[in-house]
Amino acid sequence: MGKKQIVKRLNSPDELEALRQSIVKSRDSNRTCIVVCGGTGCLALGAQEVITGFRRELRKRRLGSKLSLRVTGCPGFCERGPLVVVKPENILYQQVRGEDVPEIISETIKGNIVDRLLYTDPATGKKITYESDVPFYKKQKRLLLGNNSNIDPTDIRDYLALGGYGALSKALFKMSPEKIIEEVKKSGLRGRGGGGFPTGAKWESCRRAHGDTKYIICNAEEGDPGAFVDRNLLEGNPHSVLEGMLIGAYAIGGHQGYVYIRSEYHLALEHLTQAIKQAGEYGFLGENILGSGFDFNIKISRGGGAYVCGESTALMASLEGKVGEPRAKYVHTVERGLWDQPSNLNNVETWANVPMIINRGADWYSKIGTDSSKGTKIFSLAGKINNTGLVEVPMGITLKEIIYDIGGGIPEGRRFKAAQTGGPGGGCIPESLLNLPVDFDELTKVGSVMGSGSMIVMDENTCMVDIARYFVSFLEGESCGKCLPCREGLKRMSQILAGITEGKGKDGDIGLLERLSSTLIDCSLCALGSTASNPVLTTLRYFRDEYEAHIKDKRCPAGVCRLDAVIRK
């Protein structure tokens, strides 16, 4: 951002539109722009070297007028990072190294393509030039992620150029709060944090609740192992989340917002902090937003590393400065939440969906997806899959399409065994259900959950008992310990599963696991405990023979568990 921009707070929708036009006008859409992914994934793979390389070369060769550089959030194809896209043609270079930079620049200004850096389609063996032709992107519907490569998340002007904060302007000046809530209800948007509660209905309850003040909260405590959806949204397009919160706040009647974000998300935190600062400077936060008379402020609160703080009541306790432990939700948080005031909490991805619903309308939005689950869902694909990364798909797409068409299947020609969706409290879905349409209700039917969108793929070399043991021991470590079934029950479940994987399993273990599971579901205080048995119950349901092989034959069919040491005794 080198130059210090002189910023004037915008005081009307007209001023916003004029600013947008002036930004667009000042930019030559035909000028070549080199886009480098600066998301956490690509940075881990060495993107910083690429970014520094481009900056140095462009300066050295005085090419600033011909080529521009934009460092953006993640476009999703983490497997092939560091990623570079040459715009406006959208030529995709993958696995780019610092030493490739001079060649990319030289060839780009000549109008050539660097063949060796193109992606090779493993199916055909052919090189693919353009991003949109890569199979990984083809079946996606990137409503939320699509703009990432057009936005430098540290520069609000990129977001504004794309019509950013236009939905806020429309909401404030052309819609009543009731109309906004009606629109969100009609869109069919359901909470992306895991529960899938209808967002519009939640807003309505919070709007109707009595209280001195109402709080608007964004849950960015994304703690599921293998989940990085919210991190990427905040890293790549933080203003879309802020705009969603602003629209929600206006509809509900709240004036104070909080983003509760995990401290491990350094880059997301940095971009979010910058975005809030810039939004304030331009007049999208603070008093009298866009001259509408509506006031709203957002504070950031950093989580201390407790998984359970992703649970709404624990999160609110933590925001209050108390120990992050859940409480019973018989009185909903929309009635009595943060500091006993009506509080509306939504997840990052939920908030990010709001601006486009307002912009393009509920009718458009509700045409995407299935009867009960509308819109798109972002999944973080991880585990034994060729294309690790972030994918955005319409609700209702089959598991098979995600894993094979987008994910590129299982590495080394191995056989697919199961996909675990929804984090530790989700279930393992077997090969026989690969044609399952993925939406909130279908996932629940097979014993799993949507959760926050992690999808961990396992191949034939995975032991399902060991997987259940892993997730249960994760949750045992993250249980807050307040309620008896979760604290003591997970400890016992973990002991039994460890015993089975060590060859000490005995008759009755499976029955005991099932009884424990049913008590965890029925009796736990919060969703951490009540969903904790999903990995156990689904592996028992779909892979019972593996448990039996461990217990009866002291054999691990996948060859993962070391049971022999025990047998020799």
């Binding site: 993250e478 249980s479 079934p485 003591e488 049913s518 029925d522 009796c523 205080l525």
Partner: protein
Amino acid sequence: MVTLTIDGRQLQAEAGTTILEAARDNNIYIPTLCFNEAVKPYGACRLCLVEITRGKRERLVASCLYEVEEGLVVKTNSERISSNRRMLMELLLARCPNNREIQDLARQLGVEKTDFRLEDENCILCALCVRACTEVVGVSAISLVGRGTNRQMATPFYEPSDVCIGCGSCAYVCPTGAIGFEDVGDTRHIYWPKNSMEFKLKKCKTCGQYWAPEKQLEYIIKKANLSPDLFDKCPDCRD
């Protein structure tokens, strides 16, 4: 007033009361361990779970926290409830196999043995001591430290607490006798599961009996703005 049905009996309760309170007012037994009228309900032991029906939906709720509603139908002892209570007791019995209170309650709920590996604790982490210390006494000398299975009841850093007044409320409310309490000569001993403290007792000017911790009396004098010599004599020797 709200009309509800508990175990087939139609009864009335004031709005704002919990199912547990309404049941107890009508002599309907619901087991509890983490409940005490002196402090706010907490919902941690889950033994007080009851089954409620609203429309077609049945679900289990903690009766110590769920407030009565008009037309609510409550079952306190269905098969689903008792099988869950038995599992909860098995878990408790495995944690505290040598604790008399837990053994008695387990037997009462039909649990004689547990399938889990035995530990040897007395504290069930119900937090009654912590809540009494905070909500009733108002000093917050003790708390639950650690998370999940590492959770323990203790003073900060397991060190002697400089705010503890030695009143013994924690021992008094403990449902399992996990906190010990003893006056020997001029000293009061409080034994928590993981550490202990001693307190000097005040001597009665008249009879010479040691009758209360000095720190507790100082706390009462300060809190109620009383004259310091009020507690020179023990209650028996006062006029």
